[in-house]
């Protein structure tokens, strides 16, 4: 008996380190460390390509939309739901904006409004069904995804590039970052640049991070995701919080859709295929738990970057065949999931031992 009593003691001591850190911080810490290790490893092994700042900025440029969409996804996941319609909404937004700009000679301001309106509409309808009618978020947003994908082809079947001058000018606008340029193969100095979408993405991340950290609503998301019952007892309007999380996610999918549209400059039914899964994967890698209550947008941001860094590593390692990307992403996802599951299980044990 005395032996069995002794056994948990070292565990509890070990657990103190773990339990001093909140769930959110611990998982965030893992993500950021993994990203930096991976990037430094890439620099050491692959060499030159990854040393150029532009490589890093290209990852940002290509994934500004994914960052924005993943933020929305993280918020919904923190609240304990899921939204798999975001990829469809992104495709629908870029198709609608493309059709409006090209066939109806629209202006850019209105097209932004269209993007926001589509995202908001999806968010409101899905949020209402999930929060107030108690239908499972997975089914509702699955239908939302079907609907968005179908509507995209109903709006226009064929992919096409947008020729609208004002839009093309906006699309090609590049914000040059001084001092980080590099010399290309011809010996010419090329400035490092980012696109407008990246600025939008960074603003979204910072604003939402502050909201989640310090606003009443933001803390409400965590409370509802962690335990709806006790959130209700704390006087939080659980239904409204869930509703708002879905509305926010829809709105962010709208914004993300426009940023995506600004990056690709075309409308096509096959745009953003599988984006919802990438967004979920980024959120998970970033330390958001699908059970809700745990997550951090900075982590999501790094999740997107890690996901794409590994893609870059794979393609620059000469494994250019299309299937390697899928397999590596899946492998990484698997790794993170298992790590998460193990870490959380140990933490639970530690807390149990402590009490």
């Amino acid at each position: 008996m005395s032996q069995t009593k002794k056994a948990p003691a070292p565990k509890a001591g070990q657990g103190n380190k773990f339990s001093n850190m909140t769930d959110t911080n611990l998982l965030l810490f893992i993500t950021i460390v993994v990203f930096f290790v991976m990037y430094i490893g890439a620099i050491l092994i692959q060499g030159k390509g990854f040393l150029k700042p532009q490589t890093f900025f290209n990852i940002l440029n290509g994934n500004a939309a994914l960052i924005i969409v993943s933020c929305g996804m993280s918020i919904v996941m923190i609240t304990g739901g899921i939204d798999i319609s975001v990829g469809g909404v992104t495709a629908l937004v870029s198709m609608c904006c493309a059709v409006y700009l090209d066939f109806h000679n629209g202006n850019i301001f209105m097209s932004v409004l269209i993007a926001l309106a589509i995202g908001l509409a999806f968010g409101v309808v899905q949020g209402f069904l999930v929060a107030y009618l108690d239908i499972q978020p997975f089914i509702v947003t699955l239908a939302g995804m079907f609907f968005a994908r179908g509507m995209t082809t109903i709006v226009n079947t064929d992919p096409f590039n947008v020729q609208n001058e004002a839009f093309v000018a906006l699309k090609d606008t590049r914000i040059i970052i001084p001092g980080l340029g590099s010399v290309n193969k011809l010996g010419k100095y090329v400035d490092a640049y980012i696109e407008i979408g990246v600025v939008a993405a960074l603003i979204v991340v910072v604003v939402l991070f502050c909201m989640l950290r310090w606003s009443k609503l933001g803390r409400g998301f965590y409370a509802v995701g962690g335990n709806p019952q006790s959130a209700l007892m704390l006087g939080i309007n659980v239904r409204r919080t869930k509703f708002i999380s879905h509305v926010l996610c829809g709105l962010l999918a709208g914004i993300g859709g426009f940023v995506y549209f600004m990056h690709v400059g075309s409308g096509s039914p096959s745009h953003a295929q599988g984006m919802e899964m990438n967004a979920i994967a980024s959120s998970i890698i970033g330390g958001t738990l699908l059970t809700g209550g745990v997550g951090n947008l900075i982590g999501t941001f790094f999740g997107v970057l890690s996901l794409n860094t590994i893609q870059n590593i794979v393609s620059s390692a000469g494994l250019n065949d299309a299937w390697w990307t899928g397999i590596t992403i899946a492998g990484m996802l698997c790794l993170f999931l298992v790590v998460q599951s193990v870490v959380m299980a140990r933490k639970k044990l530690a807390i149990k031992a402590k009490s």
Binding site: I135, I139, F146, I154
Partner: protein
């Protein structure tokens, strides 16, 4: 209407009981679709007897094509129902897993050459290998869910992202084509029998699962794990193993569906084969009125749900809806169905019904 309800109270009770039945939703949906087609175009139900290009007798018609094309979905719905009931989550990797198992079948049959003139291995060996591989992938998903306690949707997300890539990798990204007609039997017709083979295969699967549910405790155990995991452990069950088992069963269903899928074309296109079928399979379970959060299930309702989805798709194709636009219509139907079957809405409707009845009672009394 109100009068008939008033004459006898039991009759209204009966109506309510029918409405509350789980089979009500899929059957009502099937009936509505059938009625709609009958009104729009009675010739929808015509079945004609023909000879195909090889000279086999063949039955053709919309009903036959619904039963034929719905086979894979019905088979998947069986496994998906079990997984949903036991784990309270869904497997979203079945489409990708079909790509893998189909790819394995072709790989075994073709050997190293991607366009062989003769089969390099007996067909049953290929089927056996693909079953084992699909069950292994099912076991992988099951392990993550049951032993690592990852939510099913997230755990299967891994295979969902990697599956089609693995399928391409198995065949070195080549597109093997099998010219031997004997392989086409599983997705086409057995010579001399005018009914498509997939219908027989689906029927066989249904009979097997019916026997399993009838003569083993699988159904009971799955439901008890889904309803309350810890209490079923206290009753001596092993919840983790049962969850694991349901994923392996789903793997077997995937292998059968994959065989039919590749046999239809005697080839495979990794990125397109069985695309979005996972969503349809989950939909079939939901349409069958099964709670997606686990617990009790009704296998018959799920299978009927699968055929309802195929019926809907065939109906829409008949009205010249583009296949890419199909999801939008499907989504509307899904939303209508889930809204109608949501407990909140049902309660509300029931309350309104009660109020109407009470009013008429008051009138009668007055």
């Amino acid at each position: 209407m109100t009068q008939s309800k008033e004459i006898k109270k039991p009759s209204s009770g009966l109506a309510a009981r029918i409405f509350r039945q789980q089979m009500f939703i899929p059957l009502a949906a099937l009936f509505l679709l059938a009625l709609f087609n009958f009104i729009m175009d009675p010739s929808f139900y015509r079945i004609s007897f023909d000879y195909n290009s090889v000279g086999n007798p063949v039955l053709s018609g919309n009903i036959i094509s619904i039963l034929d094309a719905g086979s894979e979905l019905a088979i998947l719905a069986i496994g998906m129902t079990l997984v949903t009931a036991a784990t309270g989550g869904q497997d979203i990797s079945v489409g990708a897993a079909i790509a893998i198992s189909g790819s394995v079948v072709l790989r075994v049959l073709c050997g190293t050459n991607s366009r062989p003139d003769t089969l390099q291995a007996p067909i049953f060996v290929a089927i056996l290998v693909s079953c084992v591989v699909a069950m292994l992938f099912g076991a992988f998903n099951g392990m993550l869910v049951a032993y690592f306690r990852i939510q099913p949707m997230v755990a299967t997300l891994i295979l969902f992202t990697a599956g089609r890539s693995i399928a391409a990798w198995i065949n070195n990204n080549e597109l093997p084509i099998i010219s031997d007609p004997s392989f086409g039997v599983f997705g086409g017709f057995i010579p001399g029998i005018p009914i498509p083979t997939p219908i027989f295969i689906a029927a066989g699967c249904m009979i097997v699962i019916a026997l399993v549910l009838r003569f083993t405790n699988l159904g009971l155990y799955v439901q008890s794990v889904g309803i309350n995991e810890s209490s079923s452990r206290l009753n001596g069950l092993n919840p983790a193993f049962i969850k694991f088992l349901t994923f392996v069963v789903l793997g077997l269903c995937v292998a059968v569906a994959g065989l039919i899928k590749v046999s239809r074309f005697s080839s495979i296109n990794y990125s397109v084969v069985a695309k979005d079928i996972e969503m349809d399979a989950i939909l079939a379970v939901a349409l069958g009125g099964n709670a997606l959060s686990g617990g009790k299930f009704n296998m018959k309702a799920s299978i009927i749900g699968a055929y309802v989805i195929q019926f809907l798709a065939t109906t829409l194709y008949k009205f010249k809806v583009q296949s890419t636009a199909l999801p939008a219509y499907k989504a509307v139907v899904v939303i209508l169905l889930v809204v109608l079957s949501a407990p909140k809405v049902r309660e509300y409707l029931a309350r309104i019904g009660k109020q109407i009845r009470q009013k008429t009672h008051v009138k009668e009394a007055g």
